[in-house]
């Protein structure tokens, strides 16, 4: 068209600071701010050992939250993740205690595979109940949350389930406490899981479908996307992430109980929201989620190292963080 060129001339293609999406940057800015505050509170804080420790401890929530990013991006919610951790962990330990396989290495591998399969199956169940059953994800996963937790309590008879074979324990320990080139294994696993998730979300057809389904189910349907399948797979991904978290959790204590993972769903959702993913669905931000999980752990750490706030308030502080994050998100949306 004749006028087209004019318009293009008028439109400057320069990138300016205005183009930066504030919502994507906000969590990282908050992280830097926290690091500065932490350094002021206690000089030990900023040390590499302490930060590596914090990162290691954030691993469970971070990995679960990566899965939650998929579920939330696709417009759903999974409240059952905390109970699922307890459930998958107890089954895994019970299997290892059963002595079904004599060779310890083989047994360990089999147990890990089992955990992944159970995690995926739990996620699939959540997904099918919400999509085929047409039940709100909030209610569906509230139900399975009760089921997974109840089954765990029953399996453990209200107590703890502990890995008995000391040989297996010794074999499995490095999965949480080990290093590769000085980097703790959990940190490597976080990075690996996040990198894979980011790739899936941003660079595959499935990832694009997740965004579409989360932004508008109707538009997705009219674009020939199998909406229910996309949502179900997101729940399965969530289940797999829970399983990976369990793989790191079991070697840490070598035991699990009916109270394992309580309120983890809240922390995972907080990490996702702090990371800049909108709770109403749409574009997910995997790296933001990791940043969010790290922020949560960091806040706890700062409170521990400082002497003026009781660490018993951690829950309250984390609760406030999710509210503040929502407020910040909303005001940034309005501005852009």
């Amino acid at each position: 068209m004749s006028t087209n060129s004019e318009i293009e001339e008028r439109a400057p293609r320069r990138r300016t600071w205005r183009d930066v999406d504030l919502r994507a940057v906000a969590p990282f800015a908050a992280l830097i701010l926290l690091l500065i505050i932490g350094a002021l509170v206690n000089p030990n804080f900023i040390g590499l050992t302490n930060l590596a420790n914090v990162a290691t401890r954030s691993a469970f929530i971070a990995i679960i939250a990566v899965g939650a990013t998929f579920v939330i991006s696709s417009g759903d919610l999974d409240l059952s993740v905390g109970s699922m951790v307890a459930f998958v962990a107890s089954l895994m330990i019970l299997f290892m205690n059963s002595g079904a396989i004599a060779d310890p290495s083989l047994m360990l591998v089999a147990a890990m595979v089992l955990a992944v399969v159970i995690g995926g199956a739990c996620g699939l169940l959540n997904g099918l109940i919400t999509t085929l059953g047409r039940i709100e994800p909030f209610i569906a996963t509230l139900g399975t949350m009760g089921i997974y937790r109840g089954l765990t309590t029953w399996l453990s008879q209200g107590g703890a389930i502990t890995l008995q074979s000391s040989e297996l324990q010794a074999l499995y320990r490095p999965a949480y406490f080990g290093n590769v080139l000085g980097v703790p294994v959990p940190i490597l696993i976080i990075l690996l899981v996040t990198a894979i998730a980011a790739f899936v979300l941003y660079r595959t057809r499935y990832g694009r479908h997740v965004v579409a389904v989360g932004s508008s189910r109707e538009v997705a349907r009219y674009s020939g996307i199998a909406v229910d399948r996309v949502r179900t797979i997101a729940f399965v991904i969530q289940g797999l992430c829970v399983a990976v978290a369990v793989l790191l959790y079991v070697p840490r204590l070598g035991s699990t109980s009916a109270t394992t993972g309580i309120l983890w769903e809240l922390q995972a959702i907080t990490a996702v929201v702090v990371g800049g993913t909108a709770l109403k669905g749409g574009a997910g931000r995997v790296w933001g989620t990791i940043c969010g999980a790290f922020i949560l752990e960091l806040v706890g750490n700062i409170m521990l190292l400082s002497n003026f706030i009781s660490e018993y308030l951690i829950g309250a502080i984390q609760g406030s963080i999710i509210i503040i994050a929502m407020l910040v998100q909303r005001s940034l949306t309005r501005k852009s």
């Binding site: 068209m1 004749s2 006028t3 087209n4 004019e6 318009i7 008028r10 439109a11 400057p12 293609r13 300016t16 205005r18 183009d19 790739f199 941003y202 660079r203 595959t204 057809r205 990832g207 694009r208 479908h209 965004v211 579409a212 932004s215 508008s216 109707e218 538009v219 349907r221 009219y222 674009s223 020939g224 996307i225 199998a226 749409g282 574009a283």
Partner: protein, 508 residues
């Protein structure tokens, strides 16, 4: 400025040197306009010219970046957030502005509910709603949920909402884009009535015949600049179109190309019945452009959605290239080369929060996979191609689709559907909200597709479009396919006869 009609009167509302900038992008450049009491002032211009932005500023929905406004000759700053309604200035949005979970009555009285002793007087409100709807000749149920209404009915509710208030100036942004000519006629009767009582109207439309019919003066915008304001009587459709695009337009419709009688039948529908559509049968040949005409609510979209598999069918069969098409499987239909372009671009067509490229390739991601992952470079190439092919104009490449002008959204939607390279294409309202220049391009595009051997169904409420473009026209009425016109028979009178139920014959 030309002021012939009413020389003495002070403008109700006047805009002086209004400019508007979004971020770094300027979309309005020092635009003037005055609205006289009791006039209908048409505002026309190409897609993205800035019409919607301009009237949003005039009605207080957005502040101008510079310039001032005069109300009854006095400078005013319109209060933000639609409280300008209290001053009698009302805007009917191009995008609907209705809360989906309210009923028709509730949305009509939103913010000014009638209460008796502090209790809502539902009966009075319902009766009043019914009255306004009856005046508009609309059969919408006053208790229906907004979310359950068809697009045209939502538009009617918006109009009812505006005329039920004591308005001094009513801004209407493409109110007739989704209405049939009859419904538009009813609307215009109301406009004339209110106008006689002194209400002023600003009317944005791409339908230039309507502009000629209803308006007293016309203001033309081009690329955000004021071009001309003149009494309508001194212009004709041709002249307005030229002012809009800034060049001469050749013929609007391409020459028709009739397929041979022995061409392969690519789509055949037999006895299709859905909840509303009864026993519809027709055939579509290779290279044919088949029109579907009828009043709003005659079941055309429902029929098309059932064919495409977006809606369940109760009975009947659909054959694509001779093979039966499973009911309710849109993805399968897509895979086999049948595409459906919805008329509800905001509701089900486009992801408003995403960018253009995400939307463009959403339905055809398979083409952009290298070793199983998406290739952004290939997507960018497709985007550049689509922008050229469909003349999609945006001033900022990374704009969210929801912020694009209505017409450019429509072009993007068409581009998105065409990315799937379909053989059979059902287009529901192809030119909704599109300016004349682009309309012409789209018509030629459709004709070119047909010449390539693709088959197209055009569902349209714009009769000239169906007549100018199609070699056969099916007419629907109240869920039945009542007529199939060919050749000489295709005329406005004939279509109206069938659509109004004065004639019917067994569909061919």
């Amino acid at each position: 400025m030309a002021n012939d009609g009413a020389i003495a009167s002070v403008p109700v509302l006047a805009a002086e040197r209004i400019s508007k900038t979004f971020g770094e992008v300027q979309v309005l450049f020092s635009v003037d306009m005055d609205i006289l009491p009791g006039e209908v002032h048409a505002l026309v211009g190409e897609n993205g010219a800035g019409k919607s932005t301009f009237i949003k500023i005039l009605s207080g929905f957005q502040p101008p970046s510079s310039g001032r406004m005069l109300l009854d000759g006095e400078p005013v700053t319109l209060p933000a957030n639609s409280t300008a309604e209290a001053l009698g200035i009302i805007l009917i949005h191009q995008e609907f502005n209705l809360a989906e979970h309210l009923t028709v009555t509730e949305s009509l009285f939103l913010g000014r509910e009638i209460a008796r002793f502090g209790v809502l007087d539902r009966k009075v409100m319902r009766a009043e709603t019914r009255r306004v709807l009856d005046v508009l000749g609309s059969r919408i149920d006053e208790n229906a949920l907004i979310s359950s209404l068809a697009v045209a009915d939502k538009q009617m509710v918006e109009i009812a909402k505006a005329i039920s208030r004591d308005a001094r100036v009513i801004f209407m942004d493409e109110p007739t884009a989704v209405l049939s000519r009859e419904e538009a006629g009813v609307l215009f009767d109301q406009v004339r009535k209110l106008k006689a009582k002194g209400t002023s109207f600003v009317f944005v439309s791409h339908k230039l015949d309507e502009v000629m019919e209803i308006s007293d003066r016309v203001t033309v915008l081009r690329d955000g600049q004021w071009i001309k304001t003149a009494p309508t009587s001194m212009l004709d459709g041709e002249a307005i179109a030229q002012l809009m695009v800034g060049r001469e337009l050749s013929s609007l419709y391409p020459t028709k190309h009739e397929p041979d009688v022995d061409e392969e039948v690519v789509l055949s529908v037999r006895g299709l019945t859905t909840g509303y559509v009864q026993d519809a049968s027709f055939e579509l040949r290779k290279g044919e452009v088949l029109g579907f005409s009828g009043l709003i609510g005659s079941g055309r979209s429902e029929l098309m959605e059932a064919i495409a598999g977006l809606r369940p069918r109760l009975s009947g069969e659909v054959f694509l290239h001779g093979e039966p098409l499973v009911a309710g499987d849109f993805r399968e239909a897509n895979r086999r080369g049948l595409a459906y372009m919805t008329k509800d671009r905001k509701g089900v067509g486009l992801l408003l929060d995403e960018g253009m490229t995400t939307n463009l390739t959403l339905q055809s991601l398979g083409q952009h996979l290298t070793h199983g992952y998406l290739d952004p470079a290939s997507e960018a190439k497709a985007m550049a191609r689509a922008r050229r092919r469909f003349d999609i104009r945006v001033r900022d490449d990374r704009v969210r689709v929801g912020r694009m002008s209505g017409g450019n959204q429509q072009k993007l939607l068409l581009a998105k559907v065409m990315e799937t390279e379909p053989q059979v294409i059902i287009i529901d309202e192809p030119t909704r909200g599109i300016d004349v220049g682009t309309k012409q391009q789209i018509y030629h595009f459709i004709a070119a597709l047909a010449r390539e051997g693709r088959s197209i169904i055009v569902v349209s409420s714009e009769m000239p479009e169906v007549i100018g473009l199609c070699t056969r026209v099916a007419v629907m009425r109240e869920g039945h396919l009542v007529g199939m016109l060919e050749g000489e028979e295709i005329s406005e009178q004939m279509i109206m006869r069938y659509a109004a139920g004065l004639r019917r014959k067994a569909a061919g």
